[in-house]
Point group: C2
DNA sequence: CTGAAAGCGCTTACAG
DNA sequence: CTGAAAGCGCTTACAG
């Protein structure tokens, strides 16, 4: 039995004005004298009034919420520290602007589309955050069809006209390759994430290009699904080669941790015989021995900026993308000079 | 510019009936003939109509959403796999019942209270999920004051009258101690979570009792904040004792992983000289060498049941708690017979 | 500067 | 079985 919550009716009655006046006063719009406004605001505060989102939504045609549909198996999400940090960042910005976050966790893109369609049809959300874009992403068609204000968390997609918040993966990849090269590494491998993802391809391309620039062979890119298991498998394959790599760069933290174990299991010393670089610099990186050298960037800020861009778009602004500072290398114990 | 979304007005017009009739037909209530109902439903499906939550909320005084305010620093949340699995479970049940999840990530209980108050005052939610209850928990006062339908994810609190979804920690703790005892361990320590939490105290009490029953000294309980750092510190202290424990039981996975590193750093072999048991059996447990023996339980089901209990409560049912199956021990490489 | 009124999209007694 | 109408709590032109 919900307690009775105060309404503008009550405020109007107590202030001796119409509800229209109350609405104007509370929304800081012209049409009421300073004194009346003051009095109305005081009453509202006194009785603890807050506008009903339902009523505001109905009259203002804004839901005052945005949606995030995460399409990954829940068990994987659990150990992948990226998402909680990203969500916390989103939340930080949304809550300061009084917008709610509707979180949906689904299995795949088909389910994500169903969830988006429903949330939109029910007018639960004013816009959407899209993460982990695929090169050929079926969600984009629905966004376009329904004209849902949407921000891409990831590289801009000129084909869509959607604003994006992203970081310069190419610069980050370059800095890693440069560093490893400087340490004397010549056989450098890359264990990449999901091949279908936009940024996976960008990073792979950047890696190949960086290798070429250093005059190195770049035949050692393995694609995975980001899971611990595939990270381990890829590492095992790489370390089984006749001319095995002396350094491997991973696309997330989880796989880098897996790599550490595989190296131990195969008797390959880290960092003496093998250098390992992790992807996201979560707490996972300091929880291993040796601790993992990683590409570090501010994922919470990434989330906050993503929310900001989306809210600006919803508020009618022109789509404006935002570029984060590139990730920087944090060197720990898992990288060292190449063995000779 | 949101696309125009269909309303019952349009359906009524096309069906040649009143909007009242449409509402009755669509909600499966009596008052319309089978044929009319059929026709109305067909039209609704055809034009892809979905009820506006705002309109339903306003007339029905239901928000069709529930809230979860997580009060932990975001960085810790990130590496703690528990929450994503729990949230995924919540979501699974909520979405089948057409209820949204409003997620709020806050720093502490004060902020959680502010977030709850606001969400409730704005009528964004019909109820709340409360996790990580403290023995003396200031959130309970607000729940009581505002009469917010609430489910406790954790042990029931008879002092509140709130329904709870929980698992028998005592049984789980007993099974661990019994097992370690059977392996010959006599000095067993416990690295517990936050002292302020309800279940921390319950587990500590259960641990002490189990030790006493085996005639063992139980002077080795250390309280922490669940973080990697405090887990490492506690382990270091325990392993520095003259008569150091041969087995340590941790209240989550993160600290158990930290323990593994501390053991390595101090030259204590796991499991030969030290057995380690982790708390939640997340993927973290299989990502270490040796893999961690852990208390395993279905956190997604826990989340789903929690949502179910809350929705039943919101639907006007009497508060009904639900007890999960106790956690079972999954034995991996981090436990072995005690050294002699 | 202020009041009275329509409207957002539903639900739900209340007459017929 | 069905229609007409009030109401949920706001916002916003429109008159005064």
């Amino acid at each position: 039995m919900p307690a009775k919550r105060p309404t503008i009716q009550q405020i109007a009655a107590r202030a001796g004005v119409s509800i229209g006046a109350v609405s104007y006063a509370l929304n800081g719009r012209p049409g009421v004298s300073p004194e009346t406004r003051r009095r109305i605001i005081d009453i509202a505060n006194e009785i603890g009034w807050r506008p009903s989102v339902a009523a505001r939504s109905l009259s203002g045609s804004r839901a005052h919420s945005v949606g995030l549909a995460l399409a990954r198996p829940a068990d994987t999400l659990g150990v992948e520290p990226f998402f909680m940090r990203f969500i916390a960042g989103l939340e930080r910005e949304l809550s300061t602007r009084r917008v709610g976050l509707l979180l949906q966790i689904v299995e795949d893109h088909r389910a994500a589309i169903a969830a988006m369609r429903l949330a939109w049809a029910e007018r639960r959300v004013d816009g959407m955050v899209l993460t982990d874009l695929w090169e050929h992403d079926i969600r984009l068609g629905v966004i376009e069809e329904l004209q849902i204000p949407t921000v891409v968390a990831g590289r801009p997609r000129p084909d869509t006209g959607l604003p994006a918040v992203w970081t310069d993966d190419t610069a980050a990849v370059n800095s890693v390759v440069d560093y490893l090269y400087a340490l004397g590494h010549r056989r450098i491998a890359r264990v990449a994430g999901l091949a279908a993802l936009d940024h996976t391809q960008v990073r792979i391309a950047a890696f190949r290009e960086a290798m070429r620039e250093h005059g190195l062979v770049e035949d050692s890119v393995v694609e995975t699904d980001y899971s611990w298991e595939e990270g381990a498998r890829a590492t095992r394959a790489l370390l089984s080669r006749r001319a095995r790599p002396t350094a491997v760069v991973y696309d997330n933290d989880l796989m880098a941790v897996a790599a550490l174990n595989v190296a131990a299991e195969m008797g390959v010393a880290v960092p003496e015989q093998l250098s390992i670089v992790a992807g996201d610099d979560s707490q996972l990186c300091v929880l291993t021995r040796p601790a993992l050298t990683a590409l570090s960037w501010d994922i919470q800020a990434y989330g906050a900026h993503t929310a900001g861009v989306l809210l600006d778009l919803i508020d009618g602004g022109a789509p404006e993308s935002f570029q984060e500072r590139p990730a920087g290398l944090v060197v720990r114990g898992s990288t060292a000079a190449a063995p000779h």
